[in-house]
């Protein structure tokens, strides 16, 4: 599946934050968006997945292959997102976090266990997420997003909080899983190393 943005921008009080953006992210590839803080990168991702702050307004279209999802509510777009913080639900166990976006049905349990194994946390479904290390939590957050069977993945500076050694491993973990799942990935960062590791095209957000 390919993620298309068509004339996309975000408006604050009627003024666009950056020049309209048109791009296509093919399946299994990573496109990197760079720009100084305040340039509207994160707002663009929020608009793409449908969670833009109501005080802002988006313009343009978001399409997955030929399907225009711009008008769909966030929960029906099936676009996953990872933030700088893992944002695991503090009131749910690790397993329940993983199962949050997984539709009910047979094989749920097995898929959660499988995801735990891939996150190098086998058998830890009952654990309190607050007791995991930063790296472990970050991996659970990615597996949680992948289990909800997204059609595209957005990354909002997800490597910023991790220390250097962990960051490299987690980058490979994220890109490896996303590419294996054949997802189009849109990465927002201000770290050139992230862009280099992503390997795909790099786009600089231009002021409007």
């Amino acid at each position: 599946m390919t993620l298309h943005l068509d004339g996309a921008t975000v408006l604050a009080a009627g003024r666009p934050l950056f020049a309209p953006l048109t791009l296509a992210v093919p399946p299994g590839t990573v496109t990197t968006l760079m720009g100084p803080s305040g340039s509207g990168k994160s707002s663009l991702l929020a608009w793409v997945c449908g969670t833009l702050d109501p005080a802002l307004r988006g313009a343009g279209r978001v399409c997955l292959d030929d399907a225009d999802v711009t008008a769909l509510p966030v929960e029906r777009r099936r676009i996953g997102i990872l933030f700088q913080d893992d944002l695991l639900f503090p009131h749910l166990s690790v397993g329940a976090n993983l199962g949050f976006g997984l539709p009910p049905g047979s094989g749920r349990r097995a898929r959660i266990d499988d995801a735990l194994t891939q996150a190098e946390l086998p058998g830890m479904a009952a654990r309190d997420p607050a007791t995991l290390s930063g790296g472990q939590r970050a991996r659970v957050a990615l597996m949680r997003a992948l289990l909800s069977r997204p059609r595209a993945l957005l990354l909002d500076e997800p490597f910023g909080r991790l220390d250097a050694a962990l960051r490299d491993r987690f980058r490979q973990f994220v890109f490896g899983h996303a590419v294996a799942a054949g997802l189009p990935v849109l990465l927002v960062t201000h770290d050139p190393d992230d862009a280099a590791a992503a390997g795909g095209p790099v786009i600089l957000l231009q002021p409007a």
């Binding site: 449908g50 969670t51 109501p54 944002l87 503090p90 997420p129 607050a130």
Partner: protein, 557 residues
């Protein structure tokens, strides 16, 4: 549809308040068809102005209103200046919690038990220090200047302002500002007053004006601790409304209008005073003068005294409730027994049910309305009209006696008075603003990305609310519920007016019984009235830790 939840919350409060004000103003000018008033007339005002002692009532009202507000403000400010950031500050915050939870009436009853000429304090120091072998014949309580009333109000209002100032201080970098000012040579309390207080006060303005409006129009505390003749204006209103002579309703309405005008003038005067103090403060801050630290530290000790008096009042009420025979100068009763408790058990049941029922119903309603309104604002932003929510704070700023009287007139006209619906709604007028105020900040502080992640995982907005937001916000939700219960349990005037005299709560029953003056009975009522909110506060404190005992991320504050 987007502004519906905010409009509902605002309307549930603003419509009755507006109707209440109208129902107060019209009879003040002779118009109340139910009692034969069909033409415009100034007679109610003539009767009011001819009332002997009216000037004294007005003077007393003003003295008490400003006195209680200024005293509470002064002790809290001095305490924070002297002790913010120290362990004494945290100790005071812990000590004030039970005082905050306890209704005004219970504290006032306790203060009576403590400070009256025959109260616990007098017994403790007699006869060895005072020589008293009989309770002295002096007006410690109910003095004509309202000093005991001012003190009784401050026992409740100072902890409330301390809570509000503490919350405001969390939002500003107080520690850094004080450190910066101290590095410029200012002693700590002076540094706090110059650098921190002006920032914190901005967020304190609404609570202070609410305290002022409350102190100007408090009826329950005034009946227990204030002078009887002439009484404060609000007491006069209530006395006339419930006079068997129904035509007294007209001058009562005029007196309620006068109280409303007084409150507006007092608020404007306070705001003008703020400016004057601010101008002087700026000159002081710019003058580089360092003096005053010792005086502020000394004044800072007043708040612990106020807190101690409030807690001792509760203990005094509890002691009286189990006191056996207790001759006057003895420091302690000869023995303890449960006679008063067993004698009152039957009489407690009905008012206890009314208190608990009204508290639970109004709190649940307030939680539903608040969550719906805050969630609408979170989902739709400006389109949900968040500005409407400011209307819900009206009942905190308008004197109760001024609009509850009109509410009763409106309820009578609708045939709704004296029932549960009217009672719960009247309580909701005061419960909703406090519940909304307690929930607003935690709701805003919740990381919005948590909800966004849940939505991106496929959860509908309602699923996000139920599966993520409400569980994560369990602690502030329970705390808001406890606040709601405490506010409702403390409602005297709302119960009196909406209950139409047929539904008595612990608060109204205790004030009624106070004229009989049986200390033991009053002690029982004070303890039960305090116990209801205290139990809910304790539950709100303990439950989240139990529910989330396996979730380290939610166990902390």
């Amino acid at each position: 549809m987007k502004p519906l939840p905010t409009a509902l919350a605002a309307g549930a409060v603003a419509v009755p308040v507006a109707a209440g004000l109208l129902g107060t103003v019209l009879p003040a000018f002779g118009m109340l068809p139910a009692l034969g008033g069909t033409a415009f007339s100034l007679d109610p005002w003539r009767i009011l102005l001819d009332q002997p002692g009216l000037a004294a009532s007005v003077r007393l009202t003003i003295v008490v209103g400003f006195g209680a507000t200024a005293l509470s403000m002064f002790v809290v400010t001095a305490f924070c200046a002297a002790f913010h950031g120290t362990s004494a500050f945290r100790w005071a915050q812990a000590a004030m919690a039970p005082v905050l939870a306890t209704p005004h009436v219970a504290i006032a009853l306790g203060f009576l038990a403590l400070a009256a000429p025959s109260g616990v304090l007098a017994r403790m120091i007699s006869p060895w220090a005072t020589g008293w072998r009989q309770p002295p014949d002096i007006a410690i309580i109910g003095d004509p200047w309202g000093v005991s009333l001012v003190l009784g109000l401050a026992l409740k209002e100072a902890p409330y302002l301390l809570l509000m100032l503490g919350a405001a201080l969390n939002g500003i970098p107080a520690r850094g500002l004080v450190a910066a000012a101290r590095s410029l040579g200012q002693p700590a309390p002076v540094a706090w007053l110059k650098a921190v207080f002006p920032l914190a006060y901005r967020q304190l303005r609404l609570p202070v004006l609410a305290v002022l409006a409350y102190a100007l129009s408090a009826v329950d505390v005034a009946l227990l601790l204030g002078p009887g003749s002439p009484p404060p204006l609000a007491v006069l209103v209530v006395r006339w409304v419930f006079d068997p002579d129904l035509s007294r309703v007209f001058p009562a309405a005029a007196a309620a209008c006068l109280l409303l005008a007084l409150t507006v003038c007092a608020a404007l005067l306070w705001l003008a005073g703020e400016r004057a103090v601010a101008a002087l403060g700026r000159r002081w801050a710019g003058s580089g003068r360092l003096a005053g630290a010792a005086a502020v530290r000394l004044a800072g000790l007043a708040l612990p005294v106020v807190l101690a008096l409030a807690l001792l009042s509760l203990l005094a009420a509890a002691l009286w409730s189990v006191a056996g025979p207790w001759r006057f100068p003895d420091a302690l009763p000869a023995r303890l027994d449960g006679a008063a408790w067993s004698a009152q058990a039957a009489g407690l049941l009905a008012p206890f049910r009314v208190t608990l029922g009204a508290a639970l119903a109004s709190t649940v309603l307030a939680l539903l309305l608040s969550v719906a309104a805050l969630e609408a604002v979170a989902r739709h932003g400006p389109a949900a009209r968040p500005g409407l929510l400011a209307l819900t704070y009206l009942p905190l700023l308008v004197p109760q006696a001024a609009f509850l009287f009109g509410v009763q007139v409106a309820l009578l006209a609708l045939g709704l008075d004296g029932g549960w619906a009217a009672l719960v709604w009247a309580h909701l007028l005061f419960v909703l603003p406090y519940v909304l105020l307690s929930l607003r900040d935690p709701w805003a502080a919740l990381d919005p990305r948590l909800a966004r992640v849940a939505a991106c995982l496929g959860a509908t907005p309602n699923a996000v609310l139920l599966r993520v937001k409400l569980p994560v916000l369990l602690r502030p939700l329970l705390a808001a519920a406890a606040v709601g219960i405490a506010v409702s349990a403390g409602q005297y005037l709302a119960t009196l007016f909406a209950g139409g005299g047929r539904m008595a709560s612990l608060a109204t029953e205790a004030v009624t019984l106070a004229s009989g003056g049986d200390r033991r009975v009053l002690g029982v009522f004070a303890v039960v009235q305090a116990a209801v909110p205290l139990l809910f506060y304790a539950a709100a404190l303990v439950l989240p830790g139990l529910v989330w005992r396996r979730r380290a991320g939610l166990r902390g504050a």
